[in-house]
Every structure is written in structure tokens, then in C-alpha cells.
């Protein structure tokens, strides 16, 4: 590739790493709010373990995004000093924790996609992204399993748990479509063998999620209203509150360490 062509490609790689990093970071922040709020100590640790896995993924990806774009911004700069409109995570991951069923549904829908993504990204032409995927794939495998186990038990549990689990899947379903949307930035990277074609992951995702929902005696919601915009920095209402809490300490005490 000649020198003039490299700049846009480099910028796209940074954008892509930032998107995947933001997904992991925002969901990690959401899950961290379950600390001391789980229905028992065991689940408390399970959810925060998943959050910590995702935070680890976010750190690698944000660091890489900062390096690729020129090295002037660190992972902390990217996590703590960007504004709401600069975050490019999926709308799905920023949705509020709600009740336990809502948190589990969000994890099922997201981790099923993320696992397929990491599996495919292991053969990326970008060595760093491939390495991150290679480490993260085992983590996502467990995250999905955890969500599946609870979806089955809540869906096929009591009337109350079934009702809540169905309501959770219904509420989050509109945000699924965005997960599989591929814009020009990603299309160029897919052509270059760097990114995964998210749309190509949809059939496998459908098969898996449909199977889990059926076994859990839940009904797959109708496709309908499909909000999007997360990848362009257009977020839902609760995201600003999440961000202000996450960034508060760093902004109040720049460079604080402990």
C-alpha cells in the first residue's frame, strides 16, 4: 500500500478499535453497578467478574486506538476525557441495568454477538486486533454461558420470573438491529481483511438466540422500531448519567492515582 493510502486506513482501524473498546467499557461500567447489589454474593461476584473481563478488553482496545491514531491520547484520556458525542458504543450496552432479568437479557444479546465477533476477528489481518480477540474469545464464551443459564432459569421459572424475562427481551430487542449494521468505515476494513463483517454474524446469532429463547419458553419479539446512532455518537438519555459518574473522579482530580 502506498503512503498516501495509509492515512485513511489507519484512521479507520483506530475508529474500529475505539468502537469495540467503547462497547466493552460502557458495559463494564454498567455491570460494575451490580457490585454489592446482586441477589446473593455469588451473583455479585459473577457479574462484576464479567465487568472486569470487559474492562480488560476495553483497556487493550482503547490503548491500541490511541496508539494507531498517533499516540497522543492514552487509554485514560479516551475513557475519561471524551464527551458523550465522542463515544461510539452500541446503544444496546448503555441500556440501564433495570431488574436482574434486564441485565441478563442485555448480556445474552450482546455476548452472543461479541463471542461470534471475537471468534472471527482472531483471523484479522491486524495482528493486535487478532491478539485481543484471541484473549477475549474465552471470556465472551463464559459471559454468554452465564447469560444463557439465567435466561433458561428465569424464562422457564416462576410466572413472575417468566414475565420479567420476556419483558426484558422485548424492551431490548429494538437495539439488536444496530449491532449488525455495517457502515462505510467498517466496510472498508472488511474489504481489507481487518474487520469482521458484522452483518455476516446475524444468521448464527439468530439461530443461537432463537434456540435459547425457545428452550426458556420465551417468545422472540417482532422486529420493528430499530433505533441506531451509537456508532455516530448519538446516545440514549441514560448514557450521559453513566458517563458523568464514570468520569467524575478523573475530571475532579486529574491524574489521580491510588
Amino acid at each position: 500500500m502506498s503512503a498516501p493510502d495509509r492515512a485513511p486506513m489507519t484512521s479507520a482501524v483506530s475508529t474500529y478499535a475505539l468502537r469495540l473498546g467503547d462497547d466493552a467499557l460502557v458495559l463494564a461500567q454498567r455491570l460494575s453497578a451490580w457490585s454489592s447489589r446482586g441477589h446473593d454474593l455469588e451473583e455479585d461476584i459473577a457479574l462484576t467478574n464479567i465487568g472486569l473481563d470487559l474492562l480488560g478488553q476495553a483497556r487493550m482496545l482503547l490503548t491500541y486506538a490511541g496508539t494507531v491514531e498517533g499516540g497522543s491520547r492514552t487509554e485514560d484520556d479516551l475513557a475519561y476525557l471524551r464527551e458523550e458525542r465522542d463515544f461510539t458504543n452500541l446503544l444496546l450496552v448503555e441500556q440501564p441495568n433495570g431488574d436482574f432479568a434486564r441485565t441478563i437479557a442485555r448480556q445474552l444479546l450482546f455476548s452472543t454477538w461479541q463471542l461470534a465477533l471475537w471468534e472471527a476477528l482472531q483471523s484479522s489481518a491486524d495482528e493486535t486486533l487478532a491478539a485481543v480477540a484471541g484473549k477475549a474469545v474465552k471470556e465472551a464464551d463464559y459471559h454468554r454461558d452465564h447469560a444463557v443459564q439465567w435466561t433458561l432459569r428465569l424464562g422457564d421459572g416462576t410466572d413472575e420470573s417468566h414475565h420479567r424475562m420476556q419483558a426484558a427481551v422485548d424492551a431490548l430487542w429494538p437495539y439488536v438491529d444496530e449491532v449488525f449494521t455495517v457502515d462505510d468505515v467498517e466496510q472498508a476494513l472488511v474489504a481489507g481483511g481487518v474487520a469482521v463483517d458484522a452483518a455476516s454474524l446475524r444468521p448464527g446469532w439468530d439461530r443461537f438466540v432463537d434456540g435459547v429463547l425457545a428452550e426458556a419458553t420465551l417468545t422472540r419479539p417482532e422486529d420493528g422500531w430499530n433505533p441506531s446512532g451509537g456508532r455516530r455518537g448519538m446516545h440514549t438519555e441514560s448514557f450521559g448519567y453513566l458517563l458523568s459518574e464514570m468520569q467524575h473522579l478523573h475530571r475532579s482530580h486529574p491524574g489521580a492515582t491510588w
Binding site: 441477589h39 446473593d40 454474593l41 455469588e42 461476584i45 459473577a46 432459569r153
Partner: protein, 96 residues
């Protein structure tokens, strides 16, 4: 949590590495065996403590009673010949 019946208690055994036996590491609550196994993974192996986990319903464990301590254990106290201390143990044997 108030109003919620407590879930069953499970005893957790972890094998720290191949070649060693499973050791009791603690207990936890879980609604069924599969969740108990996953909870054990999260609670007891998050710092690389294990390569294998057993979970056993605590209610299934039959324990000796403190009342039986004298008849159970004291008779072994003066049987020094049962200890394998009269043999030279080869240096290669690590986990005897």
C-alpha cells in the same frame, strides 16, 4: 434477601493442579448443580486457583459427630507402627 427463600448450600472442592486431589475450599449458595458449578468458578477460582471443580450438595455430606471423637479417633493414637516412617522414601516421590 427478605422474602426470598434461601437457595441450597453446596460444598466446593477444587483441584489446584493436575496430579493433586480436590481440596475443600468453602461453600456457596446456588439454585441447582449447574449454577453451583459456575458460582464456584466465579467465587473460588478467579485467581487461577484451580483446574477442576467439584460441587456437592452440603445436605448429602455425612459427617462424624463430635460426640464420637473418642471412639473414632483416640484408638489410633498409640499405633505408631501404622505410620510409614520406617521406610526410606525415594526423592522422586513428591506427593506422598
Amino acid at each position: 434477601m427478605s422474602g426470598t427463600p434461601p437457595t441450597a448450600l453446596w460444598e466446593v472442592f477444587v483441584r489446584s493442579k493436575r496430579g493433586l486431589s480436590h481440596n475443600h475450599v468453602g461453600s456457596l449458595h446456588a439454585p441447582d448443580a449447574q449454577m453451583a458449578l459456575r458460582n464456584a468458578r466465579d467465587v473460588y477460582t478467579r485467581r487461577q486457583e484451580g483446574v477442576s471443580i467439584w460441587v456437592v450438595p452440603a445436605i448429602e455430606i455425612v459427617a462424624s459427630s463430635p460426640d464420637e471423637k473418642d471412639s473414632f479417633f483416640d484408638p489410633a493414637a498409640d499405633k505408631v507402627y501404622r505410620h510409614p516412617t520406617f521406610y526410606d522414601i525415594p526423592a522422586e516421590v513428591q506427593h506422598l
